[in-house]
């Protein structure tokens, strides 16, 4: 029998704790998914395998509309936030001469991360209800602007990280090889930054798609997104239809995270 070796990295009970944590993390999600296939009117008792709740969700006009709305808002907000964040990241990284206002910019851009969502939600409720009164416009614009604002720091994060890890001498080399500043940006900076931008775009998209609180306060009548629709459903008797919607949503999140994972792993 081999003699047990002393393992430097081991800590008593840590592995057990970690495995327990992973179990606890996934058990509820698994339960949720399993009950989405329950052939019963209530989520309570398992009656057998069925896809009826997926069909039911698919045929539910409110769910379909909320899904489309969620995607519209998330797509618009993610694109806007990523463009703004890319520009901001270019402006705030690799500063050769630190200038006044740089710290201010960092604080400003990260502000949505620092203020509790409920406070921002309330603030936007007050502000936008005034504007709605003055202008009479009640479209999706408010939600898109609100989502763009809190998506910016999330899009900014990977783009800034990518820029800071980028070798400054590559752009110097381009300039040395007769590339004008614009050509340097187009041929060297942008292609190298692309994975960061893509990561930022996906993060922003997921963050927007997931938002409940700010959407709940900013939305006008009939502007439910998928999460606010679900939140509304919790007030009534919950059917496995919610499980079915959640399962699809979950799969979508996993897909996006997987892509994100592989994009951000491809380091220069």
């Amino acid at each position: 029998m081999a003699r047990p070796r002393f393992e430097v990295r081991a800590q008593t009970g840590f592995t057990v704790m970690a495995v327990l944590t992973f179990g606890l993390l996934y058990l509820p999600i698994m339960t949720l998914v399993v009950y989405a296939f329950n052939d019963n009117d209530s989520i309570a008792i398992w009656k057998g395998f069925s896809l009826r709740w997926f069909r039911s969700a698919w045929n539910n006009q409110l769910v379909v509309e909320a899904s489309i709305r969620s995607f519209q808002i998330a797509a618009a907000a993610a694109v806007l936030a990523t463009v703004a964040a890319t520009m901001a990241a270019l402006a705030t990284t690799r500063v050769t001469r630190p200038y006044r206002g740089l710290t201010f910019k960092y604080a400003f851009i990260n502000q949505p991360l620092m203020v509790p969502e409920i406070v921002t939600a309330v603030a936007l409720l007050i502000f936008f209800s005034r504007i709605k009164m003055w202008t009479g416009y009640t479209g999706l614009g408010y939600l898109i602007v609100a989502h763009t604002a809190f998506c910016i720091p999330f899009a900014y994060l990977p783009i800034r990280a990518r820029l800071e890890s980028m070798d400054l001498s590559l752009e110097t080399a381009a300039a040395d090889l007769y590339a004008t500043p614009w050509n340097t940006f187009r041929r060297v900076t942008l292609p190298l930054l692309w994975p960061g931008i893509l990561a930022g775009l996906m993060l922003a998209f997921v963050i927007s798609l997931d938002d409940v609180v700010i959407t709940e306060f900013v939305k006008s009548g009939g502007q439910d997104t998928l999460p606010t629709y679900m939140l509304g459903q919790f007030r009534r008797i919950v059917t496995p239809e919610i499980n079915a919607i959640s399962t699809v949503f979950l799969l979508l999140s996993i897909a996006i995270v997987t892509i994100f994972f592989f994009v951000s792993r491809k380091r220069a």
């Binding site: 590559l170 110097t172 381009a174 300039a175 090889l177 007769y178 004008t180 041929r187």
Partner: protein, 364 residues
């Protein structure tokens, strides 16, 4: 005296570079002037922080001087952006574009200059041949070895046929054997292309073996410019003698001097002939430098005497550490022969004989 700008590729005139503002100002370059001839392999040699890389960056256009002029074939280019200078750089980190192939990297500069496609293809092929990398044209730069990356960086910088090629410690990332190979390769490339090379290094051996001329730098100033032989045999200042090779320093008094030569008296009383450096300001007390291999151990006599403290065997030669009676250390280096050493042992009383024309007086 009439200027002959056509013979100088680069002329640096009174260039200063100050970093920072207010109290934290640091002068990276302090009123530096130097001329670099056409077709020359010119080396800027010095320890890190001496300003050699700053000078290179000013010539490349990555930074702008606080004061002074930089002439390229007679035209002041000090304020031109890098992409408007016919000067290319081989970076210390190579700075190869990771999202392009080897061929695309080499073609980049030519594309930016708006050369026709056919010409670009031909030059890329020629460059690949020059650095013996034909087979790797379509490889990603991340898929080739460090030595190959080095060659691509060279080919990329040479492709647009610059007037001057700047090399910023390009060999420092390579291992010893590859470095030796590339030193020869670089000399060959310089010969074949006829382009002026300005090479930055902190490695004195590299500088001595490769350069036509060397400028030794320290604390933002150029201390001495000359051929490798000049710099080694006739160091003008203590820093130069200390930085390049090993040196023994002896205090001496000037007895007589004329025509660049002097007779000096050492602390031991022995008188010695020594060479004076250029621009020597007459003074009584001087420091004389003697290279360890220019001295010999003797049982009796010699220019100075002392006690042998240590014998260090180096394979090709042996170093004898002597403590002089007049104070201070003196190292003698003697080639080893198969018949063995002369039987010197620590503790022996020995004399140090200094070869003819071995002593050099320092300016400072």
């Amino acid at each position: 005296m009439p200027d002959k700008p056509d013979r100088n590729a680069i002329e640096v005139r009174g260039v200063s570079k100050i970093f920072g503002t207010g109290d934290s100002q640091v002068a990276a370059l302090d009123d530096v002037s130097v001329s670099i001839r056409e077709n020359e392999f010119f080396t800027l040699l010095g320890p890190s922080g001496c300003g050699k890389t700053t000078l290179l960056r000013l010539i490349a256009g990555f930074d702008f001087p606080t004061d002074g002029q930089i002439l390229l074939h007679g035209d002041d280019i000090a304020l031109l952006p890098p992409y408007k200078r016919p000067v290319n750089t081989v970076f210390q980190s190579y700075a190869l574009f990771p999202h392009m192939t080897v061929g695309q990297n080499i073609a980049f500069g030519l594309e930016m200059l708006g050369k026709p496609k056919a010409e670009i293809a031909a030059r890329v092929a020629a460059m690949l041949k020059l650095v013996k990398m034909e087979a790797l044209r379509d490889r990603r730069t991340s898929q080739i070895s460090g030595g190959q990356q080095q060659r691509v960086a060279l080919a990329r910088a040479l492709a647009p046929q610059p007037k001057v090629l700047l090399l910023d410690e390009p060999l420092s990332a390579l291992d010893y054997k590859l470095r030796k190979e590339m030193q020869i390769e670089l000399k060959r490339l310089q010969h074949e292309t006829g382009i002026t090379f300005i090479f930055v290094t902190h490695d004195q051996e590299e500088a001595l073996t490769m350069s036509d001329r060397i400028a030794v730098m320290s604390s933002g100033k150029i201390l001495q410019v000359g051929s490798p032989r000049d710099i080694y045999d006739r160091p003008a200042e203590r820093f130069v003698a200390d930085f390049i090779g090993e040196s023994n320093f002896l205090e001496a008094a000037v007895v007589a001097s004329a025509n660049g030569r002097a007779t000096v008296r050492l602390a031991s009383g022995t008188e010695l002939a020594a060479a004076l450096p250029e621009g020597f300001q007459p003074k009584d007390r001087v420091t004389v430098v003697v290279r360890p291999e220019q001295a010999r151990l003797v049982r009796e006599g010699g220019a100075a005497s002392g006690v042998l403290e240590n014998v260090v065997y180096f394979g090709t030669d042996t170093h004898f550490h002597v403590h002089l009676d007049a104070g201070g250390p003196f190292i003698v280096r003697q080639q080893n022969t198969r018949s063995g050493d002369a039987g010197y042992a620590p503790g022996d009383r020995v004399g140090v004989a200094i070869g003819e024309d071995a002593a050099q007086v320092l300016k400072d």
